[in-house]
């Protein structure tokens, strides 16, 4: 058995539940035999990967579903040897270049070159090009992106790239202009509800609309999360009730507690404790951006609008520093300290105002 989110993942373009126009367009694209480089972007859980998989299937038939994992040895110009994990079928190869860290540039170039230079073994294959899927392009270094731009043009006859990223802000314009952008917006509330209800029906359950709405709200329009929440609700209580509360992952609860303890007391001692909790979060591989966002959402709740603006500004400032520096905790802690500082002042002032 598998999770609902995998079980009900559409397997072909015509089965997609939403963005049907777009699916049609993609089909047209495939029909024409020609196929530009694609840049698929959209928020997490909107179905980017699902669409890419469907597209590949449309292109090559069910052969693409036979996946294997390989590690490809890459030698950097400085002579360092790297093994990069790739997932590939006979027709495509998928790689997450951010695994290679600072060597992403040569990884990208080598992989595309390899894929482009080895032609399809199967002469009856419908396409004379292979597809290279690069995930998490937003974390690709600028250097690597520059390298990519020309590689894309050079091997266009034997190789197509599909780039997947959460946002295009970090993708350099040169790449954006060489790709056909496919924006995958998150499904809206009604779409999610109908999809969930359909899935529940197949499982022999009825999903009350009230609960579905709660799930949509908690999942922030992330379909994957919505599916997971829905399934966990089922485990929690069957049949599903209207009054049920969707469960949040433990780390989110923990993060909220952390925010609460920051507002509870502002002192160096408290900061020590908060730091311990932040370390705990970090060591569970919770990305620091998500910690910032989660903290901010909780922290502003008790502030007036001017203070909110100030807190947001600080958060934006220190989160940026995380990307510039190398040790995230320094900046996270500096943000918490700064917040404690302004929040304390704010509370003291408002106490004075009261009298």
């Amino acid at each position: 058995m598998s999770l609902w989110v995998d079980k009900y993942r559409p397997k072909s373009l015509s089965l997609l539940d939403y963005h049907k126009d777009q699916a049609n367009q993609l089909k047209n694209l495939v029909k024409q035999g020609d196929f530009p480089h694609l840049l698929v972007y959209g928020p997490s859980g909107a179905g980017k990967k699902t669409r890419v998989t469907c597209l590949l299937k449309e292109l090559y038939g069910s052969g693409v579903e036979k996946l294997r994992m390989e590690s490809v040895p890459i030698t950097t110009p400085s002579g360092k040897k790297l093994d990069i994990k790739t997932i590939s079928s006979n027709y495509h190869i998928e790689v997450n270049p951010s695994d290679a860290g600072i060597y992403d540039r040569c990884v990208v170039m080598e992989l595309v070159k390899n894929a482009a230079q080895t032609h399809q073994l199967d002469p009856t294959g419908q396409r004379d090009f292979k597809v290279v899927v690069l995930t998490e392009v937003d974390s690709l270094s600028v250097d690597a992106q520059h390298a990519l731009r020309r590689t894309m043009e050079k091997y266009v006859s034997t190789c197509r790239l599909i780039l997947i990223s959460n946002s295009t802000s970090r993708v350099i314009p040169a790449i954006r202009s060489r790709c056909l952008g496919v924006r995958v917006a998150a499904p809206n509330q009604d779409q999610i509800i109908s999809i969930l209800q359909m899935a529940c029906k197949k499982e022999g359950l009825t999903l009350p609309v009230e609960l579905a709405k709660k799930i949509v709200e908690k999942s922030e329009r992330n379909l994957r999360l919505a599916f997971l929440m829905c399934e966990s609700c089922k485990v929690q209580e069957t049949p599903l009730k209207e009054k049920q509360e969707p469960i949040l992952p433990q780390w989110q609860v923990f993060l909220k507690d952390t925010a609460r303890s920051i507002m509870h007391e502002q002192s160096p001692k408290q900061l020590m404790e908060v730091r311990g909790r932040l370390y705990e979060l970090l060591s569970h591989n919770i990305p620091i951006q998500i910690i910032f966002k989660g903290l901010l959402k909780e922290l502003v709740s008790n502030c007036d609008i001017k203070l909110k603006a100030a807190v947001v500004e600080e958060a934006a400032f220190f989160e940026h520093r995380v990307h510039q520096g190398s040790k995230g905790i320094f900046h996270l802690e500096a943000f918490v300290a700064k917040f404690m500082c302004i929040y304390k002042k704010f509370m003291e002032d408002s106490v004075i105002d009261m009298f």
């Binding site: 058995m1 999770l3 992952p249």
Partner: protein
């Protein structure tokens, strides 16, 4: 060490100050645990005129060679040491046509030395002992060759051989690990004695003995104070050779200072020279400390507890303390005419090479010395700035300047430092990084084909997978492990608690890595049960292995049972090394060992682990043996 032939050839009296360090001569002078010494001497006496292989390992400078030499002397063994010939021999070999490479030479050495006694030694009761401390490079590249030679040696040998290897934190250069894997040790019946770092007490004894000896050489020699001895002990970190070295160097500086003082004797200069001597000592510690540890901690302390004085005020060691109490409260850096006692510039200069770790230490510890959150915010800001500035690529900002700015920030903003004594803690950053790496390795092994990024997997899929699949996972242990993985402790108050979570995660890694079929975990949970059971006994032996370590450390009497269960333990250890390889490559052995010791704590606390052991009959037997 190999060059100390001269010393061994002659009598003990030849020891001079120029000789860098004093090797102990008799067994009582050894700074090593007597049990280890007796282990070696029993082995040696049982192998007189007989073939046999002994492997001695231990950290650098824990006295491995010294023990072997002393013991062999006391049992009247004659040591024949292998010294790798220079490459030049190899070259001339080609020219003259007599080609003998290092491998052949080594073979020759083993063969001839083990069979024929030294012509120059007349006494018949002297037995030969081969000592190999220096390994030809070729063996490290191709251990098979070495193992072949060992096999031959075992067949023909008439003299025991001892291999000495230093432990190394870097697995790739760890000789013992490369050349003597478990299966080889078993195959050739190699006895393995592993040394621990020299304890503090033993080290102190050795230092005192050395001090007395130095004094007997030159009567003018002033014995070092207890303080400086302590300092040496600290900085040596279990390395007795290093401790001896620093002891020898230290008094010499003192002597110089003493002469200086004698030259300019006078009441006005007295305090000053005192002061210079103190700084000299500080500098000596910081410049030649083993890994800058002690010096580093001192410096961090100065940053954490900044001190100021009024301009022009003279500071000397005797009245610093008094002054501190009187003046400190009114002084801070923002006042005009205030000077640093410890100038941040000098601190920055001397530590700019290890600025990164310095800042980490400061960051980990600064909170305890601050009293107001406002100054913490300002200091945290400087730290964050320092991190950014040191990391900048585009604009070349001098490392030193950014470092200086960061520590100045921390010092200036600390208006009234808490004076309570706090232990300087090492930063958790690296530990966290390691945990993260391990976690992602687990993720990769568990869900190689799952079509989401690791982040999403960790933040979204896994927590719910645990929630939704708990029912379907009839296997209780997996559920338990998942809960460990995803469990968040409340406020983490002590380091110990922290280490428990960390080691629990490690436990998860080990357990998971031993289950091959987990790769298709996401496809089918239920297949888990069978292979898991099959692996259970291995896991039990792994626990055994841990117990063994604990026993060793506690000097329990259970030594015999250890031998009996050796086979199983070996398996466990092999399993362990495999697991370690499965984990990130750069997790070095050292750390592995550290983690293991953490694990012990877990085992003690968690009874259900034992329950797990009870599951199978085999394990029961093993348990009762312990």
């Amino acid at each position: 060490m190999a060059n100390n032939q001269k010393y061994f050839a002659g009598s003990r009296k030849q020891f001079v100050l120029s000789e860098n360090w004093a090797e102990p001569y008799t067994l009582d002078e050894l700074a090593v645990d007597s049990r280890k010494v007796s282990e070696i001497s029993t082995w040696l006496s049982s192998h007189r005129h007989k073939g046999g292989i002994l492997l001695v390992t231990g950290p650098t400078g824990c006295g491995k060679t010294a023990v072997v030499k002393c013991v062999s002397r006391s049992l009247s063994f004659e040591i024949r040491e292998w010294i790798t010939p220079l490459d030049r021999d190899y070259q001339t070999g080609i020219e003259t046509g007599v080609f003998q490479n290092q491998t052949e030479k080594f073979e020759d050495f083993l063969y001839s030395s083990s069979r024929y006694s030294n012509l120059f030694v007349k006494t018949s009761n002297v037995a030969s002992l081969l000592l190999v401390e220096d390994y030809p490079n070729i063996f490290l590249l191709k251990p098979e060759i070495f193992h072949g030679i060992l096999g031959q040696y075992c067949k023909i040998a008439l003299a025991p051989i001892i291999f000495i290897c230093s432990d190394s934190s870097d697995k790739s250069v760890d000789i013992a690990y490369e050349l003597f894997p478990q299966n080889i040790q078993r195959q050739f019946d190699i006895t393995h004695v592993s040394f621990n770092p020299v304890t503090r007490t033993k080290m102190m004894q050795a230092l005192k003995r050395m001090g007395a000896y130095l004094q007997s050489l030159s009567p003018g020699y002033k014995l070092p104070t207890q303080d400086s001895l302590n300092e040496i002990c600290e900085s040596a970190n279990g390395d007795v050779r290093y401790a001896m070295l620093s002891l020898q160097m230290k008094p010499q500086e003192d002597v110089v200072a003493m002469f200086d003082f004698a030259g300019k004797r006078g009441p006005s200069n007295k305090k000053k020279s005192n002061f210079t001597k103190q700084t000299q000592e500080d500098e000596a510690v910081s410049t030649c400390g083993k890994d800058d540890r002690v010096g580093l901690l001192h410096a961090v302390g100065r940053v954490l507890y900044p001190k100021w004085k009024a301009e022009g005020e003279k500071i000397n060691s005797s009245n610093v303390k008094r002054k501190r109490k009187e003046d400190e409260k009114h002084l801070d850096a923002t006042m005009p005419g205030v000077e640093w006692i410890h100038n941040p510039n000098t601190l920055a200069d001397s530590y700019s090479s290890s600025a990164g770790s310095f800042l980490l230490l400061v960051q980990e510890n600064y909170l305890k010395t601050y009293s107001s959150i406002e100054s913490v915010a300002a200091a945290a800001f400087s730290l964050s700035l320092g991190d950014v500035a040191m990391n900048s690529e585009g604009v070349q900002i001098s490392h030193e300047i950014s470092f200086n700015a960061a520590i100045r920030g921390v010092m200036v903003h600390n208006k009234s430092p808490h004076r309570a004594w706090n232990q300087v803690k090492s930063s958790r950053c690296h530990a966290i990084l390691n945990t993260q790496k391990k976690l992602s390795t687990i993720m990769e092994t568990l869900f190689p084909l799952y079509p989401v990024s690791p982040t999403v997997l960790m933040t979204e899929v896994l927590p719910y997978m645990y929630l939704t699949s708990a029912d379907n996972l009839s296997n209780g242990e997996i559920v338990h492990l998942f809960s460990i993985l995803l469990y968040f402790k409340g406020p983490v108050k002590t380091d110990k608690q922290k280490s428990v979570t960390f080691s629990e995660q490690l436990k998860f890694v080990k357990a998971v890595a031993s289950m091959e079929s987990l790769t298709n975990f996401c496809e089918n949970y239920k297949t888990l049960r069978e292979p898991y059971n099959a692996q259970k006994s291995e896991r039990a032996t792994f626990v055994l292995d841990l117990k063994k370590q604990k026993i060793e450390e506690k000097d329990d009497e259970l030594h015999i049972s250890e031998d009996e269960s050796d086979n199983e333990v070996d398996e466990g250890a092999a399993n362990l090394t495999m697991l370690e390889a499965a984990m990130a490559e750069d997790v070095d052995l050292d750390e592995g060992a550290q983690n293991l010791s953490m694990l012990e704590a877990v085992i003690e606390e968690e009874v259900d682990y034992n329950a797990l052991l009870n599951d199978s009959d085999d394990d029961d037997i093993l348990l009762s043996q312990l």
